[in-house]
Symmetry: C2
Subunit: 343 residues, 2 copies
C-alpha cells in the first residue's frame, strides 16, 4: 500500500523548527502503529536535526530536505515570490508536483502561501477561485466553513464551487455522513440578501442531491454552531469577519469566566469541585483542536496552520492532513466537480 506523505514547511510560524518538530513528534507518537504515513520536513537541515535529536522519532518515518532560506512573516506576496524558490515553503509545496507528497502543510506567512501554492499547484480546470476552508466546533461536533479569506469578492459560480469543495472536504473527514450545505445570509427567507446570494441559492437548490450534498438553504450567523448543517458557504470577506468575530467573542467570554472563577477565596474553593469538569469544558473549546485551514481548488491540497499555535496545535494540523488524505480528499473533489459539470 502506498503511504500517505505529508510535506511540512518546518520553518514557518513562531518558534519553528522547535515547534514544528515537536508537533511532528506528538503526531508520530499517536499514529505510528498505523504504519501508513511518511513525513517530509523542509528547512534548515542542521537546525531540524538538532530538534529531531530531542525525541525518539523512528528514522524511517521522516525525511529532511535541506532548503537555504525562509519566507519572513512580514514579506508581501510580491517581494516574496521573487526570492521564494529556495525557501522551505516553496519546496514543501513543490514536492507535490514532483510526486513526493500528497499534501503540504505550513505555519508560515498566509498571503505568500496562498499565492505560491496557486503558482505551483495551479487551479483545477473546473474551478475559478480557490477557497480557504476551516473547521468550526458545533453542538454535535464540527462543521466546515469556507471561504475564510482567500477571495474577498465572489460570484454565484465561485460560491457553488465552494459548496462542492466544502462537501468533498467534509466527506473526506466524515466518510459516513452526507454533507448538508447551507449558505450564510442575514435572514432565512428566500427574499433576503444580495443578488449573488439569491442566484447561488437557486443553483444550489438545483444541484442538491443525495450523492454529493443536500442543500438546506440560508443560515444566519447565530446558527453556525447549532450543529444542524455540515458545510457553510460564504465569500472570503464575510467568512473571515465571522470567524474572527467568533474567536473574539469566545476569548472575551472565557477571559471573563477565568477572572470570575479566581476572583475570591470562595470561587477558588469552587474550583476544587469543578476542576475536572471545567477542564473538559476548556478542552472542548480548545482552538488548537481546530487548527488548520485547508486551501481547496488547486491540483493538490495545502493546509495552513496558525503561525502562533504551539506544538500540540501544530500536531492537530498534521493530523488533519493525514485524515483528509486517508479520506481521499482529491478524489472526493473530482467526484463532486463532475456532478457539477454533468447537470
Amino acid at each position: 500500500m502506498k503511504k500517505i506523505t505529508v510535506a511540512i514547511d518546518a520553518m514557518g510560524g513562531d518558534n519553528s523548527p522547535e515547534k514544528t518538530v515537536n508537533g511532528v513528534n506528538l503526531f508520530i507518537e499517536k499514529n505510528k502503529s498505523n504504519n501508513d504515513f511518511l513525513i517530509n520536513l523542509f528547512g534548515d537541515e542542521i537546525r531540524i536535526n538538532n530538534e529531531v535529536k530531542k525525541y525518539n522519532i523512528p528514522k524511517e518515518l521522516i525525511k529532511i530536505t535541506h532548503t537555504k532560506s525562509i519566507i519572513s512573516d512580514d514579506e508581501t506576496p510580491l517581494t516574496a515570490i521573487k526570492n521564494s524558490k529556495n525557501t522551505s515553503m516553496w519546496n514543501c509545496i513543490k514536492s507535490q508536483i514532483d510526486g513526493d507528497a500528497d499534501i503540504s502543510l505550513s505555519a508560515g506567512n498566509t498571503g505568500v502561501l496562498l499565492v505560491i501554492s496557486r503558482m505551483i499547484l495551479k487551479m483545477m480546470k473546473q474551478v475559478n477561485k480557490p477557497a480557504l476552508a476551516g473547521l468550526w466546533p458545533n453542538k454535535k461536533g464540527m462543521n466546515v466553513v469556507l471561504d475564510l479569506g482567500a477571495n474577498i469578492e465572489c460570484n454565484e459560480d465561485n460560491l457553488v464551487d465552494f459548496a462542492e469543495l466544502g462537501s468533498a472536504l467534509y466527506k473526506s473527514i466524515f466518510p459516513n455522513e452526507k454533507p448538508l450545505v447551507s449558505l450564510l445570509n442575514i435572514g432565512s427567507e428566500e427574499i433576503k440578501g444580495t443578488e449573488i446570494l439569491k442566484k447561488t441559492h437557486k443553483k444550489l437548490n438545483f444541484l442538491s442531491n443525495e450523492n454529493n450534498f443536500l442543500f438546506k438553504g440560508y443560515i444566519e450567523g447565530n446558527k453556525i454552531m447549532n450543529g444542524e448543517t455540515n458545510v457553510i458557504v460564504t465569500d472570503g470577506f464575510t467568512g473571515n469577519i465571522a470567524l474572527k468575530t467568533a474567536e473574539g467573542t469566545a476569548k472575551f467570554i472565557t477571559d471573563d469566566l477565568k477572572k470570575t472563577l479566581t476572583e475570591n477565596l470562595y470561587t477558588k474553593i469552587s474550583l476544587i469541585f469543578s476542576y475536572f469538569s471545567l477542564k473538559k469544558f476548556k478542552d472542548r473549546l480548545d482552538p488548537r483542536k481546530y487548527n488548520g485551514a485547508i486551501l481547496l481548488g488547486l491540483n493538490g491540497p495545502v493546509v495552513k496552520s496558525h503561525g502562533g499555535t504551539d506544538a500540540l496545535g501544530f500536531c492537530y494540523s498534521i493530523d488533519l492532513c493525514y485524515k483528509i488524505i486517508k479520506g481521499n480528499l482529491m478524489q472526493q473533489i473530482r467526484n463532486n466537480l463532475n456532478h457539477l459539470k454533468n447537470e
Copy 2:
C-alpha cells in the same frame, strides 16, 4: 424644562402589551425621581389599561393613545404599508412629526419598522442611507456597531455617514468621551479589503479630528470586543453576520458552561461557592442589557427592541431612548454632519 417624551408601540413583539407595560413600569420605578420624562403608549386602550392597572404607575407620567390595529410579525413591508395607517407602530412614529414625542420605540416587525420610519420621518438631507446601530459589550464597557442590517450594500459615502452618525450616538450616551472610530475589515494593513473600504479609509483619515471623532483605521473581527475603539463601522450585511455570529458563539459557550457546571454532584457543590460570582458574570453578559438597535439618519430617532425580549429587556430599551435624548442625539448628529459638509 421640556420633558423627554418617549413614544412606545405598546403592541409590538411577543407577549405585548403585557411585556411592554411591565417594562414601562420597571423604567418608571427606576427613574421617576428624575421627573423629566413622559411615556406615550400607542395601542389597544382597553388592553393597555388592563395592564397599567396591575402597577402603581403615576397617571401623569403616561398617556395612552388608542389605535385600532397591529402590524403582525409575518407581514412583509409591502403589504403592511397599505394597512399601516391605523396601527400602533405607525402612530407611535408619526407622533414625532406632530411634535408629541422625541423618540419612538417598538418591539414589532423590523422590516416594516424600517420602511415606515423612513416614510414618515424622511431621511435627513445630508444622509443617503439610514443605519441600524447597536450596542456591543467590550472589555471596558460597550461600543457602538453600525450598520447591523438596514443596508446590505453600502458605498464609501454611506460608510462615512455611518461614522458620523455612530460617533454622534456614542457622544449622546457617553458625553465625556471622544469617540474613536474603526472600520471593520479582514486585516489591519492599509492594502487589505475591498475598494470601497480603501476609499472609506482615506476619507475617514481626512475627516478625523478631535471635535467629532478620531479615526483609528481598520479593525478585525477578533478585536471588536477588546475595548480599544468606541464606534465600529461596517455595511449592513457584514454587521448583521458579525452580530449574529457573536450571539451564536456566546450562546454556544454559555450553554456548554451551564451543562458543565451542573453535570455531577461535585460541580453542583462548586456552584455553592461560586454562585454569586457566576451570577455577576452572567449579568455582565446578559443580552437584555444591550437590547435596542437605533435607526439613525432620519429626522428623528427610532429604536427597535428585540421582539422576543422580556419586560426587563424592554425596560433597558426605554432607558436607552431616555439616555440618548438626554444626551441630545439629534443635535450631536447635526453637529457631526456639519463638520462633514465644511471640510
